[in-house]
């Protein structure tokens, strides 16, 4: 591993930040509900990576891993419930298109 933690951090953080950009882009531009959830997944992956990176750079890999594992478990629970909600929406509208979100206004 490189001896220069700052340099390493910048490169990894840049990678994570770009992934965040991709994830947010997906959230903003997609019309499909499942793709929105995939975008959420991408975002959470980027943040998990960021935790591991900062843990590595500050010498706390064990703590960072513990946090990352908890994060992954929470991710699963959120995605499971979210997919459940999306499937129920599909049952109502027979479509995964988000443009039907016009009922609640004001």
């Amino acid at each position: 591993m490189s001896n220069d933690p700052g340099h390493l951090f910048m490169i990894f953080a840049a990678g994570a930040a770009l992934t965040l950009v991709v994830g947010f882009y997906s959230l903003i531009t997609t019309r499909n509900l499942l793709r929105a959830l995939i975008g959420v997944e991408i975002l959470m992956k980027a943040t998990t990576l960021l935790i591991i990176v900062t843990g590595y750079v500050s010498g706390q890999v064990a703590l960072a891993q513990a946090l990352a594992i908890t994060l992954i478990i929470i991710e699963v629970a959120v995605i499971a419930v979210a997919v459940g909600v999306v499937l129920c929406i599909y049952r109502h509208n027979k479509s995964l298109d988000a443009t039907f979100f016009t009922n609640l206004k004001g």
Binding site: L49, A62, A77
Partner: protein
């Protein structure tokens, strides 16, 4: 160092592919590929157990959940698929552009990291994540159990009750 840059590049490219593919199923597969890249990066950072978790859960369980749900929803006809393919390229051509611009902006950024970082703790290097998880973060473990319970109840309420209705 070089291999890290390759892996990071692969990560960003896989994420872009996830967003830009036309078929939902392909998007989920690319999501799994993205997770594999993240896991590989974790292995590079000595976070072995987290990497294993990431592989098994995010590259295994979660794509399985997505694929099951896709299976329960409508398939696209070939004509609709062709239309969507053309549309996608028109809609999403600016994603690579944004990523490249963001990348350039980030590489110009200089963050004063060294001034801030506290010196590495004198903790024994053999601090294993299993010990940390059990000894230090047992509240998080409790939280994991409860959140999984919540997820299970949630899925039961949302999916199975609906099936009873039908």
């Amino acid at each position: 160092m070089a291999i890290d840059i390759v892996l990071l590049g692969g990560l960003v490219l896989a994420a872009m592919a996830t967003v830009m593919t036309a078929r939902l199923l392909r998007a989920v597969i690319w999501l799994a590929v993205t997770s594999v890249f993240v896991a590989l990066l974790m292995f590079r950072l000595n976070a072995n157990i987290a990497g294993v978790f990431e592989l098994s859960v995010c590259a295994g369980l979660i794509p399985a959940i997505f694929i099951t749900s896709i299976g329960l929803t409508q398939r696209l006809t070939p004509e609709a698929l062709a239309v969507r393919r053309r549309e996608r390229l028109k809609r999403f051509w600016h994603l690579p552009l944004i990523v490249i611009l963001a990348g350039i902006a980030l590489s110009r950024l200089h963050v004063p990291l060294e001034a801030v970082m506290a010196p590495a703790p004198a903790a024994p290097a053999a601090a294993d994540v299993r010990n940390v998880l059990w000894a230090l973060r047992h509240t998080d473990l409790l939280g994991q159990i409860v959140v999984l319970l919540g997820g299970v109840f949630g899925v039961a309420v949302l999916i199975m009750e609906a099936r009873h209705e039908q």
